[in-house]
């Protein structure tokens, strides 16, 4: 396991003087299959890239911790299956998520259309305060570009999305997009959050979209 971030550095300083926030965010990746969702996560979490990354069935889960100023941000990432048929499973993963990355492939116009429908669904179904980022992946293949950068940018702008073109292969903008999300997420000081297990539970039975969980647990 690349990241075992349960206790982030700084949290348990012996002198106890440093005030360090530990924030946990649930993030979900959505998008048409083979646009590179799993590759983005793999690049972000392990710094690796596999040419023949296996397809994801159901969903995969990974975590990664980043430092943002004085805050330790831990992402709990749900990487979902892209095939339309697995759509019915998706709510199970985006329910209660504080952030989502909707991914498309810049060399394929249809994947961009699919990304737009995902954004619509999130805006309708997911938690109202969810932070959504749009990622145009495979930017290393810009010679075969089919989705115009400015068009995607304009779309993201209209819908209040973060937007970056990324490349899991060259690592371009991969960490950046996660960091941009982390910056945008509310790190409000809300004490008395839910038990650690509850916050990250995922279940088929939960029907109502969960309101944004207060996500920060103060540790001193």
């Amino acid at each position: 396991m690349a990241s075992r971030p349960a206790t982030a550095s700084g949290v348990q300083r012996p002198n106890g003087a440093t005030q360090n926030k530990l924030c946990q965010f649930k993030l979900v990746l959505l998008g048409e299959s083979a646009v590179g969702k799993s590759s983005l996560v793999l690049r972000f979490v392990k710094g690796q890239f596999h040419e023949y990354q296996e397809s994801t069935i159901g969903a995969a889960f990974l975590t990664q911790t980043v430092m943002l100023d004085d805050t330790t941000v831990k992402f709990e990432i749900w990487d979902t299956a892209g095939q339309e048929r697995y759509h019915s499973l998706a709510p199970m993963y985006y329910r209660g998520a504080q952030a989502a990355i909707v991914v498309y492939d810049i060399t394929n116009q249809e994947t961009f259309a699919r990304a737009k429908t995902w954004v619509k669904e999130l805006q309708r179904q997911a938690s109202p305060s969810i932070v959504i980022a749009l990622a145009g992946n495979k930017s290393d293949l810009s010679a075969k570009r089919m989705v115009d950068h400015d068009e995607a940018y304009a779309y993201a702008d209209e819908n209040g999305l973060l937007f970056m073109e990324t490349s899991a292969k060259t690592a371009m903008n991969v960490t950046d997009i996660f960091l941009a999300i982390a910056k945008k997420l509310p790190k409000a000081e809300q004490a008395g959050g839910p038990g650690p297990a509850q916050g990250r539970r995922v279940g088929l039975e939960q029907d109502t979209p969960r309101a944004t969980q207060n996500c920060c647990i103060y540790t001193t």
Partner: protein
């Protein structure tokens, strides 16, 4: 390059090996952003087809291996005698009949190749071998084909001297050559045979090329001109007219009028070619025509082959066998089998090439002796000659771990002989094949055995051919993006040919199963079948089509959520039944199977494990029914149990996102144990395959299964009513109940009232009704623990004598029996919380026994 692999042991049973390197390009990307497939992989994929070609006039392809640095090694049938070595002996008029016969044989071989869409483009004297029994065999005929008409290699294919002029005129690298170009080459060869010497032997390459080109301007007969050039003009008139005709036709400058091999055969020999397709009753019979009848064993092998390996010949007495068995039988095996055994015995093509000095791998300095005495004796350079060595003592191989058995040459030899006969007898040997497969499945015959176990019948080829695999459909994009990500570490599956086959099989499945749809994961499911039947797409398709209804019934419906949810609910209950501690822990952290087990079951673990592990897993799965995979799932959890128990939610899910190494042998063993110790009815599902398909699968997966409703004593079965059978439980109930329900049938079998099956009781029956109801009539040996009064407020059991009985019987099955209400379910759950294993609830409660004569008054009971 050619050498003998096994000539130490089997004289003249030789395998030729040719090798070449192909050009490679680095760090370039295809249109899809993926790296380009290396040419060696492309060749590997294409060349598999050659292995399926069998013809008396063709060398049998046995293996194609990919080495380092884009090297390809081809293993094929080889004989040391060829037309070049014997060229001088053909001189003279009396040999003309023989030359004609050779010509006709070569044409037959070529015709067969053409029928399969292959142009040889590589005919020359050296490539026409003589097997000693009168057959001419075309050697290395697939080079042009496997390199995609020479595109994958940097060198030109074919000796220029024999190459037809039109090939040069149209450009050597342009397009595929037509069939008639081989006819030209044959013509040149026949000329050389007739004159008994090679033509243009003194000329340089550039001169030869000029000569060939100049023939296009030849006014009269090319044949006559060649004879004149080599000072044999008289032969033309002396020649057998038929042979002269043949050569004239072959050396026709115009490729169109020259004709194809089959046309020449028809015109000149006027005979139909030899039958090449064998007719077999079982649809996946493997054509193995190459039988070595001219080879003898060395004394070493004779002495060491245990006689009982050959006792499959039925008529002879054992004594006779001992005397002559060795000579007859090993040699009747096909080239492929012998090659397989040779490899098992430690044969290594790479080592062989190095030993023969054909490839050099280690630096020269390393081949020096390690030490040398002043007298000149050297030490430290160990000879590494490997023999096809059969030990004198028959080992108890069957008892060894599977991995070792698979490498044990003697054991495998025995298994191959056995299964060879069983497969030939299919479908009449179905049950024997099943029984033998319980022991193990020899890898050599895995494809065929799996087909038998999946009961493939009919004519897969015509079914497959009748399916439209070309018309674009809406699933194409999904299939196309999934295939290049599916088991791509494997060379065959990652080759372009592999991708094409993959796509066709998947499309055929989608088209022919209109009630189902393509789900991601179907690709993984297809991979093992395609790998095993690479040259037999229709069989891969048939296996996939038979596998899915048997093991994944309705899993590929457009809306499969009910099926998957039921399956996963059953899985949760199975975990609870066998491992309450794990269940309680996973429940407490909210770690439900929906989060990790969907890819397991949807692909029967083919998305989770690499191919070599899937093979061993499915070897067993194919002997069981659709609930066996639940047991495999639990067996996997067992191996991760310690980590799971001490982990929270995140750590648990991370564990599965990056699956740790699972010992497949242990997994198989554990899952069989689980399967055998689980009453069948507790695994029942509403969405199981319909009974007509299940009848056949209700076979034992292990020889020591305790639980099988088939083994119910007859008298009980007769008295049973339908109430004793397991019924479909609504999904909502299933998801609520943590412990599985057991059917009346299984319950009675385990209760074993007549004590006919078990020495010791296997089950404790807990009656949770109130005291009064219990005393009016209860199941013999049952104990009464009313639900309302058995537990204290904190959930623990209030101590009673019954609790002591329960505690002292921990590990046995606990069947909780109640009334119509849900008290039994609640009681079972409370016991589960206290970590009692193997709890189940009697389906429909005590009522099912009201009509029978089973219930007794407890006061008369002398229990436990």
């Amino acid at each position: 390059m050619i050498f003998n692999i096994v000539d130490r042991e089997i004289n003249s049973a030789q395998f030729g090996v040719t090798f070449f390197t192909s050009s490679q390009r680095h760090d370039t990307c295809g249109t899809n952003g993926l790296p380009l497939t290396p040419n060696s992989i492309r060749i590997l994929g294409r060349s598999q087809y050659l292995k399926s070609l069998n013809h008396p006039n063709l060398s049998q392809y046995v293996d194609i291996i990919r080495g380092k640095h884009e090297r390809i090694i081809v293993v094929l049938e080889f004989y040391t005698q060829n037309l070049k070595t014997l060229l001088k002996t053909f001189k003279g008029k009396e040999q003309h009949e023989l030359i004609l016969e050779i010509g006709s044989q070569v044409l037959n071989g070529l015709k067969f190749l053409n029928k399969h869409g292959i142009v040889c483009r590589n005919l020359c004297l050296e490539n026409l071998l003589l097997d000693g029994s009168g057959e001419t065999k075309i050697f290395n005929f697939g080079l042009y084909y496997m390199t995609n008409n020479g595109k994958f290699v940097s060198f030109p294919i074919g000796n220029p001297k024999y190459t037809a002029p039109e090939v040069f005129l149209s450009g050597v690298r342009k397009g595929p050559s037509v069939y008639s170009c081989d006819v030209w080459s044959l013509g040149i060869i026949l000329v050389e045979l007739v004159i008994g010497e090679e033509i243009w032997s003194e000329l340089k390459l550039s001169q030869v090329l000029r000569k060939v080109a100049s023939l296009t301007h030849c006014e009269g007969s090319v044949f006559q001109r060649l004879l004149q050039e080599h000072h044999y003009p008289h032969i033309y008139t002396e020649l057998n007219p038929k042979l002269r005709d043949l050569i004239e036709r072959c050396l026709d400058i115009n490729p169109v009028t020259r004709g194809s091999p089959s046309l020449l055969l028809k015109d000149l020999f006027n005979k139909s070619t030899k039958a090449s397709d064998t007719v077999c009753i079982n649809p996946f019979a493997y054509p193995e025509v190459s039988v070595l009848n001219n080879i003898i064993l060395s004394s070493q092998l004779q002495a060491s082959v245990p006689a009982n390996l050959f006792n499959h010949s039925d008529t002879e007495t054992p004594v006779d066998q001992k005397a002559k068995a060795s000579v007859d039988h090993l040699l009747k095996r096909s080239f492929k089998e012998i090659y397989y055994l040779w490899q098992l015995a430690g044969g290594d093509v790479f080592a062989e090439l190095r030993r023969q000095g054909l490839t050099r791998k280690k630096p020269a300095v390393l081949s020096l002796p390690c030490s040398m005495t002043l007298e000149g004796e050297s030490a430290g350079k160990i000879s590494d000659i490997k023999h096809l060595h059969l030990p004198d003592v028959i080992t108890q191989a069957a008892q060894l771990p599977l991995i070792i058995r698979e490498k044990d040459i003697e054991y495998q030899f025995h298994r191959i002989l056995l299964f060879d006969r069983l497969i030939k007898g299919y479908p009449y040997t179905k049950s024997l094949i099943h029984r033998e497969s319980l022991k193990d499945i020899p890898p050599y015959f895995r494809a065929q055995i799996w087909s038998c176990l999946l009961e493939i019948s009919g004519d897969p080829k015509s079914i497959y051919n009748s399916i439209d695999k070309e018309t674009p459909t809406s699933t194409d994009r999904q299939i196309e993006v999934d295939i290049p990500r599916c088991h791509q570490y494997d060379e065959l599956l990652s080759s372009p040919i592999g991708h094409e086959k993959f796509k066709r099989v998947l499309k055929a499945w989608v088209v022919s199963n209109t009630e189902y749809v393509y789900w991601q994961g179907l690709d993984s499911l297809c991979a093992p079948f395609l790998y095993l039947n690479f040259n037999n797409e229709e069989l891969a398709f048939s296996c996939l089509s038979a596998f899915i209804p048997k093991y994944l019934y309705n899993f590929f419906l457009k809306d499969n959520s009910v099926i998957i949810q039921e399956y996963l609910a059953k899985f949760s209950q199975l975990i609870a039944f066998h491992d309450p501690q794990l269940t309680n822990h996973l429940d407490s952290i909210g770690f439900i199977p929906e989060l990790y087990a969907i890819p397991w079951f949807l692909t029967m673990f083919s998305h989770v494990f690499p191919l070599h592990k899937i093979f061993h897993l499915w070897d067993k799965l194919l002997l069981g029914d659709s609930s066996f995979s639940l047991c495999i799932g639990l067996a996997i959890l067992y191996q991760l149990r310690e980590s799971l128990l001490c982990s929270g939610f995140n750590e648990c899910i991370l564990l599965f996102s990056d699956m740790p190494e699972i010992s497949i042998e242990r997994c198989v063993k554990d899952s069989v144990d689980i399967y055998c110790s689980t009453p069948r009815s507790t695994l029942c599902r509403k969405h199981e395959p319909p009974p007509k398909q299940r009848k056949e699968v209700h076979r034992k997966i292990s020889t020591d299964s305790d639980f099988s409703s088939n083994s119910l004593p007859n008298e009980t079965r007769n008295s049973t009513s339908d109430g004793l059978k397991m019924e479909a439980i609504p999904l909502a109930d299933l998801k609520k109940e943590k412990c599985p329900r057991i059917s009346g049938e299984d319950f009675l079998a385990l209760l074993d009232l007549n004590k006919t099956r078990f020495n010791k009781p296997k089950m404790v029956v807990v009656d949770v009704r109130n005291y009064e109801d219990y005393n009016r009539g209860a199941i013999p040996t049952s104990i009464n623990m009313p639900y309302v009064s058995s537990f204290s407020a904190d959930g623990s059991l209030i101590p009673t004598t019954e609790v002591n009985i329960l505690n002292s019987n921990r590990g046995k099955i606990i069947a909780v029996v109640g009334n119509r209400g849900d008290s039994a379910v609640k009681f079972a759950e409370a016991l589960l919380f206290l970590e009692f294993p193997r709890i189940c609830v009697l389906h429909r409660g005590i009522d099912i026994f009201r009509s029978g004569n089973i219930l007794v008054v407890p006061s008369s009971m002398n229990n436990l």
